[in-house]
Each structure stands twice: as C-alpha cells, then as structure tokens.
C-alpha cells in the first residue's frame, strides 16, 4: 500500500515538471497576445520544431549545443512567423492573423510527417540521466528538476527584463500605448520581432525539455499535446499576465498528472485532456479574467 504522501506527492512532482514546460509555452502565448493581441496557434509547432532541432543537431553536435540549436530553432520559427505572416497582415482584423497562425501549424506538421511517419516516435534524450533524489518515496528525475529550474530561471530573467531593462520597459509600453510608444522613438516592428522571437525561444525550450519526460516525441506533438494546455494555462493566468501564465502552467500540470494517476485509463482514456478542458470551462465560467487577470 502506498502512503498518503506518495499519492499526493507523485502527481505534484510529475505535474510540476510537465506543467512548468507548459508554462513556458503559455508565457510565449501571453507575450504575443499582449504585444499583438493575437492568439498564436502556431505556438505548438515552435515546440515541435524545438524538439526536432535538438534531435537532428544531436547527430552532429555535442548534446549541449544541440539543446541550444533546439531553442534557436524555436526562436527562428517565431521570428519568421512575425516577419512573413504577422507583420504583412498587421492592418487586417486580428481573426485573420489568428487563422494565419493556424495555417502555419497546419503547414509545418505535414512537413514533419513527410520526414517521418505519422506514428514514428523520435527518441528524446534527457539533459541529465537518472534520478536526482527521492521525496515521499517519489523519485524526482534530473530532467524534472531541470525543467523546474529552467522555469525559475526564465521567470527571474523575464522579471528582470521587464522591470529593469529599457528594452523590457519598451516592450511593456508598446502593449499599453502603441502610439505613445512610437512617439518615444521606439520602433514597434522591432519590439514585435523581439516578442515573437522570445515566444519562439520559449516554445523551443519547452520542446527540448518536455519530450524526455515521455522518452520520445511525435510529429505535431506540440499542437496536439501542448497547445491546448498552454492556452488553458494562459487563460487561467488571465491571458495578459506573465506570472499568471507560469502559475497557470504549473497548476494545470498538476491537475493533468492528478487525472492521470487517479483515473483508470483503460476505462476512461484521455482523462488528462478532459481535465484540461474542465479547468478551461470552469475558469471561463467562474473567473473569466483569470487568477491574476490584469495587465502585468
């Protein structure tokens, strides 16, 4: 018989890690939404491309560099999306841009599938193998620990960027008063590139960190397995709050892991996805502004 500690601790440990990775993607969604008022449905494929970038680079480069390639792949995908799709459509209705980001995902996924097959699983290597420590008889792997650390580091980095640097202030300003921001001499196009590049890099980072938890990944997994959870996390956090997206991601991860651990998956498959949707519906009904629903 497992102890109560184990029953509670296991979903928390697993959920913290996968939720932290979802939180990274959610933060990317929030940054883009604040800056462009666009729901970015291409975000899931920034994740998949990050995973592929690392997977492919690992054949040629030391793994540490392959990780950087994965993050950079996501960043480049974000930059290209801004430059080739979002900016040319910037004077169009937001829904047009939203649909265009869906189109990007639907264009990238078949390319990934051509390179593999719909069901091929690509092995994903953890950054460090093995377990780091045990808590309430739950093993915590190095990879899980690294993901949580990555979230903390990214969170601290973003807090510093937005509160302490001129560029961070300019980014916040551009989402609050675009015209006044231009009058300060700040070029909105550059801020937009920066934001999409950051969102892409965060997606790429999630794509590097998340797959090793399941030991592998599939073409299009960022869209099928991560995107909805990330949107829910972003909405949970209020859609415009960076800290809210982090918190939302972690909470959602724990809910998913709880559903996975406590529901018999033979009788009721897909419980984690149902749990995500349940959270989304509850947030939209009970507190549509999210947990921290204000511009922050």
């Amino acid at each position: 018989m497992q102890g109560v500690g184990f029953v509670i601790a296991r979903p928390i440990v697993q959920g913290l890690a996968s939720g932290a990775a979802v939180g990274l993607v959610a933060v990317g969604l929030v940054l883009v939404y604040k800056s462009s008022r666009v729901f970015n449905f291409a975000a899931g494929e920034f994740v998949t491309l990050g995973a592929f970038g690392t997977y492919l680079a690992d054949f040629w480069l030391p793994f540490g560099l392959a990780v950087i390639v994965g993050i950079a792949t996501g960043a480049i995908a974000g930059l290209l999306t801004e430059r080739l799709v979002v900016r040319p459509l910037s004077s169009r209705p937001k829904v047009t841009i939203l649909v265009a980001t869906v189109a990007i995902a639907f264009a990238i996924i078949p390319i990934e599938i051509i390179r593999s097959s719909k069901t091929q699983a690509f092995p994903a290597r953890p950054i460090v193998h093995g377990n780091a420590f045990q808590i309430f008889r739950v093993f915590v792997s190095w990879q899980q620990l690294i993901i949580v650390l990555a979230l903390v580091v990214v969170g601290a980095g973003l807090a510093y960027f937005f509160n302490r640097t001129d560029l961070g202030l300019a980014t916040l300003a551009s989402s609050q008063e675009p015209t006044a921001t231009r009058l300060m001499g700040i070029r909105l196009n550059r801020i937009s590139m920066l934001v999409w590049g950051m969102a892409g890099a965060l997606g790429g980072l999630a794509g590097v960190l998340l797959p090793p938890l399941n030991l592998n990944f599939f073409a299009g997994f960022g869209t099928t397995d991560v995107l909805i959870a990330a949107f829910t996390a972003a909405v949970l956090g209020g859609m415009t709050s960076v800290p809210g997206a982090f918190v939302g991601g972690v909470l959602l991860g724990i809910v998913q892991a709880g559903a996975l651990a406590n529901v018999n998956s033979n009788k009721f498959p897909g419980a984690p996805s149902v749990a995500v949707l349940a959270v989304l519906v509850i947030v939209l009904v009970v507190r549509p502004t999210g947990l921290l629903g204000k511009e922050a």
């Binding site: 001129d166 916040l172 300003a173 008063e177 006044a180 231009r182 009058l183 001499g185 700040i186």
Partner: protein, 238 residues
C-alpha cells in the same frame, strides 16, 4: 528661413482629406499657439509634424532639413517631441519608468538626462513625490504633467503640445501654461494646440485653423487685444 516651415501640406485619413494644403512658419525659440474649433485639423497638423501621419503632398522643413514623412523614431532623435492629445501615458508603468522611456533615443547622454530629470521634478514636484506610483492611478492633471515631463526627457528642440489644458481646472491649466513658459525659456521652441484663448498670454505667435486651413497667422498679442480679430476667427464665445 524659419525654424519650422510648413508648405502646401495635405493630409487626410484614407480618402478623406483634412488639411487642404496649409502653409505656416514657426520661429525658433518662440511659443506659437495653434487655435481652432473642434475638428479644425489641429491634431492632424501636429501629428503629421511628429511623424504619426504621412502627408499626401507638401513639405515640412525643420532646422533646414526636410522631415515630412519620416517616422517618429527619427524625428524624436532630431529633437521633435509631441505631447499627444489625451496624454497617453503608460498606465501600468511607474512615473519614473514613464520618464525613463521618454529618454529612449537619448539614453547615452547620461549627464544631460540627469539634469533634465532634476528639472522635470523641479517643475512638477508631484511627479517626484509619486515616482513609484503607477501612471494609470494618477489624476488627469497629474498625467498631463507626466506627459509633458516625459516629452522633456527626450531633450527636444521643438515641443508640440496637443490640448494641454483639456479637462484641467482653470488654476491647474494656468500652472501648466506657466511651466510651458519655463520650458520655452530653457530654449525649446513650443507649438501649443489649444481651444482655451487664455493661452494667448503665454504665446508669442498665434495660428488659427478652420476646416483644414490656416485662417490667421500673426502675433499672439494682436489676436488677444483685437476684439474684431478674435470675433472673426474664434467666434463670439471667446
């Protein structure tokens, strides 16, 4: 050649023409007030000078160089600052952060910025008291002061102020105008858009706009004293 020369300026929104080819001059170091009723085209004029709108025809020459159609980033760098209609401060940033962003194009000029920041706080002590307060939580008058202070931080040579007194009590409007005088005394050329004729006491020169055209260009004093002129251009109410 005047410091700012506007010639044949035509500006519209989409297919709707607003400015019908206007001409005027602004002298260096002076305060020029731009008067006119609602919809006359005052905001359109200053927004075009600041680079927010692109003219379809005409030229704007600032300090000997053509500037029409350039983007605001280049213009701020050259010393053209606009305090926009409606203040447009950054509501979720603190006062200090708002001022910091004002200096964006002049970030390297640390010493001048320090001196200017001290001057902003001297002119508007309330901004110093509340430097860590979010701009969005300040009163309309305080936000107007912040918007002017933020423009000062770009180390401008030409400051355009659109409707400084809108929504301010007459007393506060006077305070703001007297600070505009100080900014002008510091060597900044000022164009101030107003509907409040009281501003004429603070102006060297005056322009009056009507339906997208300049209908009066002359001294502020003359317009203030000449009842006939005032009635003709600004209506009986003034």
């Amino acid at each position: 050649m005047a410091y700012l020369e506007v010639r044949g300026l035509r500006v519209g929104y989409g297919a709707i023409p607003v400015l019908q080819g206007i001409d005027f001059d602004v002298e260096e170091g002076k305060t020029t007030v731009l008067l006119g009723l609602n919809g006359a085209g005052k905001t359109t004029t200053v927004a075009t000078i600041a680079g927010l709108l692109k003219p379809s025809a005409g030229t704007i020459t600032f300090d000997g160089q053509r500037i029409e159609g350039r983007d605001p980033a280049q213009l701020v760098e050259r010393g053209v600052a606009l305090v926009p209609e409606g203040r447009r401060t950054f509501p979720s940033l603190t006062i200090a952060q708002n001022l910091r962003l004002g200096s964006w194009t002049k970030r390297q000029r640390r010493q001048e910025l320090q001196a200017t920041e001290a001057r902003v706080y001297e002119y508007f002590p309330v901004l110093e008291e509340r430097r860590d307060q979010l701009a969005g939580t300040m009163s309309g008058g305080e936000q107007q002061m912040l918007a002017i202070g933020r423009a000062m931080m770009s180390l401008p040579r030409l400051m355009l102020i659109d409707e400084a007194s809108l929504g301010l009590s007459p007393r506060l409007a006077k305070t703001v105008f007297s600070i505009v005088d100080k900014i002008n005394d510091d060597g900044v050329t000022v164009i101030i858009v107003e509907q409040n004729v009281g501003v004429l006491r603070h102006a060297d020169n005056a322009l009056v706009m009507e339906k997208g055209a300049i209908v009066y260009q002359g001294s502020g004093e003359e317009l203030r004293k000449g009842d006939e002129l005032r009635k003709t251009y600004l209506g009986a109410a003034s």
